[in-house]
C-alpha cells in the first residue's frame, strides 16, 4: 500500500475518491478550499468523471449532495465553518431525510480566526442535527474516517459530519492509502417517501433518527478512534479531543503521558467510557480546539468540581490551543526567555499592488468625503482589507451578502446615501436575494459590484458571476440606465467619479459594476498557459 505526503485537506479528498465518491459539492472557504481543489486536479477523479465543479454557495452544495445521495451515490460537501450557517437549513433536515448513498459533510473550523470572522464550533451543529461526528487528530485519521465514514453513513441512514480545524487542514504528513473502491450504482431509495418531509412523514423519520441515537453512541463507545490510554498517576485524567491529543503528548517524553488519557475523536460522546474515565481520576482536564463542547456536557447544568478546562480558566476561553497552553494547564514549567523585540512592526495582509478594487476605492473615497463617514456597507472578500489604513474605505463586514441588505436597512432608516460594496462571487453567493428586496421596494441605494472575475480571497477560483453579472442584475429588475459598467483604472478616474455622483443622486436602485480581472488570477492564468506550451 502506498504512502503519500498530504495536507489534512488533501487526505480527506483522497479518501473520498478511494471510498467511491461520485461527487463533491462545495463553495470555497479557508481552510476547506483545498479539499475540492484536490479532487478537481485529481487524474483518477477526471477519469471517473466525478462531480467537482464549485457550487454557488454552501446551501446549494448541501442540497445537491442530498440529491446525489437520493440517486444512490456517495457525495461529499465541504465548507468552512460559517458556510454551515448558510447550509444549515439543508444540513439540519438531512438527518431527518436520512441518506440513500452515503453523505459526508466536511466542515473546517477556524479557531483563532486566522481567516474568518468568528470561531464557531461546528460540533454544536452536529449535536443539534443529531448527526454522528468525527474529529480527526491527524491526517491518517482524517483519511480513515472518510474512508469508513461512508459505510457508517449508509449503514445508519444518516449523513456524517467530519469536523476539522485550520491546523489539521493545512498541515502535511504522510498518509497510508487504502484500496480504491468502485462508485455506487444508480439506485432509487427503497422507500420512495423517505425524502418527502411532509409533517406526517417527517415525524416518523424523526422518531427513527431519535431511535438511532443509541446506535450512534454505541459506535462511539466501540470506535477505534475513541480510546483510553492508561496512565499510572490518576490524580489527573485528560480528555483530549481531536488534534489537541497531539498538543498533549508533545509535552511528554516519548509522547507517553503519566496520566490516563481519553482520546475522543468520534461523537456523540461515549458516555459509558467517559463516566468510567472520570470516576477513575481525581481531576479531569478537558482539551478542545474550539468551544467547550465536551466540557459543558460533562459539567451538566450544576457543574462538576472535578472538571477543568476552558470554562474554569485553566485554558483560555477563546483561540486555538497549542502545546505551550496545554503545558501551562498541566503545570509543566517551561523556560521561554526570548521575547519579541519591540522594534518589529505588524505586517497585516493588504490588497495587492495593481488590484482593481483599489481604483474603485480611490474614487469612492473621494466622493464620500462630501458626505462624511459611515455610509459604506461592505462584504467579505479581498476588498474587506480596505477597512484598514491606508484606504479606510468601508464601515461593515458581517457575513456574505450583508452589504446590500445592511445598506438597505440603513437606507430604510434614513441614512442616505447608502452604499453597498460587494464582490462578484459574494454577489452570486448571497447578494442576489438582497438586490431583489431593494428592487421590489425601489430602495434608494447604490450597489457597487466590484467584479474581478474571480474569487480572489480564497485563491482565485472561478466565479459564477463570470460573464453574466449584468444579465443577472437586469433579470432581477435593475433599470438598464442605472446599471453602469466601467473599467477601474487610474486613467478612468474622472469617469468613475462621474458615474458615482450620478448614481448616488438617483433615488432608486443603482448598480455600478467596475470590471477588471484580479491581477493575481491573471498572472496565474498566464503562467499555466506558458507551462502548457
Amino acid at each position: 500500500m502506498s504512502r503519500v505526503l498530504l495536507l489534512g485537506d488533501e487526505a480527506i479528498a483522497q479518501a473520498a475518491i478511494d471510498a467511491g465518491l461520485s461527487g463533491v459539492y462545495a463553495y470555497p472557504g479557508t481552510p476547506s478550499t483545498e479539499i475540492t481543489e484536490y479532487i478537481q486536479n485529481s487524474k483518477i477523479a477526471k477519469e471517473r468523471k466525478l462531480h467537482s465543479d464549485w457550487s454557488t454557495n454552501e446551501k446549494t452544495a448541501m442540497e445537491s449532495a442530498i440529491g446525489m445521495s437520493y440517486a444512490g451515490k456517495r457525495a461529499m460537501v465541504c465548507m468552512k465553518h460559517v458556510g454551515l450557517n448558510v447550509a444549515a437549513d439543508a444540513f439540519v433536515n438531512s438527518t431527518i431525510t436520512g441518506v440513500n448513498g452515503g453523505i459526508i459533510v466536511v466542515v473546517a473550523d477556524d479557531p483563532s480566526m486566522h481567516s474568518s470572522q468568528n470561531e464557531q464550533d461546528s460540533r454544536f451543529y452536529g449535536d443539534f442535527a443529531l448527526m454522528p461526528m468525527f474529529e480527526p487528530s491527524n491526517q491518517q485519521e482524517a483519511y480513515d474516517m472518510i474512508y469508513s465514514g461512508f459505510e457508517i453513513s449508509e449503514k445508519y441512514n444518516t449523513p456524517i459530519l467530519l469536523r476539522i480545524t485550520t491546523r489539521l487542514a493545512h498541515s502535511r504528513s504522510s498518509v497510508e492509502l487504502k484500496p480504491m473502491r468502485e462508485e455506487n450504482k444508480l439506485k432509487l431509495p427503497s422507500d420512495m417517501r423517505q425524502f418527502v418531509l411532509l409533517p406526517s412523514i417527517a415525524r416518523n423519520n424523526y422518531k427513527k433518527l431519535l431511535g438511532n441515537q443509541i446506535y450512534f453512541i454505541d459506535e462511539a463507545e466501540n470506535s477505534s478512534f475513541n480510546k483510553i490510554i492508561p496512565g499510572k498517576d490518576k490524580s489527573l485524567g485528560i480528555i483530549a479531543c481531536g488534534i489537541t491529543y497531539n498538543y498533549l503528548i508533545e509535552n511528554f517524553e516519548n509522547h507517553i503521558s503519566p496520566y490516563p488519557v481519553a482520546k475522543i475523536c468520534q461523537y456523540p460522546l461515549p458516555d459509558k467510557l467517559l463516566k468510567e474515565f472520570t470516576d477513575m481520576c481525581d481531576e479531569v482536564l478537558i482539551l478542545e480546539d474550539g468551544y467547550p463542547f465536551v466540557e459543558k456536557q460533562i459539567n451538566g447544568l450544576f457543574g462538576n468540581s472535578k472538571i477543568k478546562g476552558r470554562l474554569t480558566g485553566d485554558l483560555p476561553r477563546d483561540g486555538e490551543l497549542n502545546p505551550n497552553l496545554v503545558a501551562k494547564a498541566l503545570g509543566i514549567k517551561e523556560n521561554i526567555d526570548l521575547k519579541v523585540s519591540d522594534i518589529i512592526s505588524n505586517r497585516p495582509p493588504a490588497l495587492c499592488p495593481g488590484c482593481g478594487h483599489i481604483d474603485v476605492f480611490n474614487s469612492l473615497n473621494e466622493i464620500m468625503a462630501d458626505y462624511g463617514p459611515g455610509h459604506v456597507f461592505s462584504d467579505i472578500g479581498c476588498y474587506t482589507l480596505s477597512a484598514l489604513p491606508p484606504l479606510n474605505a468601508i464601515n461593515s463586514c458581517v457575513d456574505m451578502g450583508a452589504s446590500i441588505t445592511m445598506a438597505k436597512g440603513a437606507a430604510d432608516a434614513g441614512l442616505l446615501p447608502a452604499i453597498a460594496f460587494i464582490g462578484d462571487s459574494t454577489f452570486t453567493h448571497s447578494g442576489m436575494t438582497g438586490l431583489l428586496d431593494c428592487i421590489i421596494e425601489k430602495t434608494p441605494i447604490t450597489i457597487i459590484i466590484s467584479d474581478n472575475s474571480t474569487t480572489g480571497m480564497t485563491g482565485g477560483q472561478d466565479s459564477h458571476a463570470f460573464n453574466r453579472l449584468p444579465e443577472i442584475c437586469l433579470g432581477l429588475g435593475v433599470e438598464p440606465e442605472h446599471l453602469r459598467i466601467y473599467t477601474p483604472l487610474r486613467k478612468n478616474h474622472e469617469e468613475s467619479l462621474r458615474i458615482l455622483r450620478e448614481e448616488i443622486a438617483y433615488q432608486g436602485v443603482s448598480v455600478i459594476i467596475p470590471q477588471r480581472e484580479c491581477v493575481r488570477t491573471l498572472e496565474r492564468k498566464v503562467k499555466s498557459k506558458k507551462a502548457e506550451l
Partner: protein, 194 residues
C-alpha cells in the same frame, strides 16, 4: 535526529518551496515529518510562517512549541525576529538580509540587523545578490535553504537529490542553477558559523 524549523517570510515570497524541498529530502531519508502551512488571508502580503518538523521518531504536534525550535529560517530579516520566542536556547537564526518593505512603519534595517546580531548563533546572508550573481534570481530561496542545511541533520546529498527531483521537470539547466545556489548558501554558512 530531530529538526524543528520555523520558516518565515512575507506572503508571496514562496517559503513553501523551501518547506517542500526539506520535506522531500526528509522523506528520502525515511524520516517522520509534519509541516504546517499558512494559507488564506495572510498570504496577501502579510507575515507568514510555516512549521517544519522532521524527526527519526513520530512527530506529535503540528506546531512547534515555543522555546523548542532548532532553527528559524527566514527569507526576510524583520520576519526572522517575529518568531524569536520559538527558538530554543542555542538555536540558530538564519535570515536573508534583504528587507521586504510593504508597510509604512518598517523599522530601520540597521536596527533590525543589530537586533539579529544579539543572538550569538545567527547567519545573515545576502541571498538575493548571490542568486543574482549566478543569473538565477529566483533561486534565492534555495540559497537560503543551502544556508540552513548545515544546521539540519539531513545529509547534503539528500538535499541535492531533493532539488533534482523537484526541479527535474523544468530542465537540467534550472536543476544545475539551483544546486549551485544551494552550494553557495551552504558554503557561506560553513564559513561564517562560529
Amino acid at each position: 535526529m530531530k529538526s524543528d524549523i520555523i520558516l518565515s517570510g512575507v506572503g508571496g515570497q514562496g517559503i513553501l518551496s523551501i518547506a517542500t524541498t526539506i520535506g522531500t529530502a526528509a522523506l528520502m531519508n525515511d524520516l517522520y515529518m509534519k509541516q504546517s502551512e499558512v494559507h488564506g488571508m495572510s498570504q496577501r502580503g502579510g507575515a507568514v510562517v510555516s512549521n517544519m518538523r522532521v524527526s527519526s521518531n513520530p512527530v506529535a504536534s503540528d506546531v512547534i512549541p515555543m522555546g523548542k525550535a532548532d532553527l528559524i529560517l527566514s527569507v526576510e530579516p524583520m520576519e526572522s525576529l517575529r518568531y524569536i520566542p520559538y527558538l530554543k536556547p542555542g538555536g540558530w537564526l538564519i535570515t536573508s538580509s534583504s528587507p521586504f518593505v510593504n508597510i509604512e512603519d518598517y523599522p530601520d534595517i540597521e536596527k533590525v540587523k543589530e537586533e539579529i546580531r544579539k543572538y550569538k548563533n545567527h547567519i545573515i546572508i545576502d541571498a538575493d545578490s548571490i542568486a543574482k550573481d549566478i543569473k538565477s534570481a529566483r533561486s534565492s530561496n534555495i540559497v537560503m535553504l543551502g544556508a540552513a542545511s548545515p544546521f539540519i541533520e539531513i545529509e547534503e546529498s539528500l538535499f541535492i537529490k531533493a532539488i533534482e527531483s523537484i526541479f527535474k521537470s523544468k530542465g537540467s539547466e534550472i536543476v544545475a542553477k539551483n544546486i549551485e545556489a544551494f552550494n553557495l548558501g551552504r558554503n557561506y554558512s560553513l564559513q561564517n558559523k562560529k
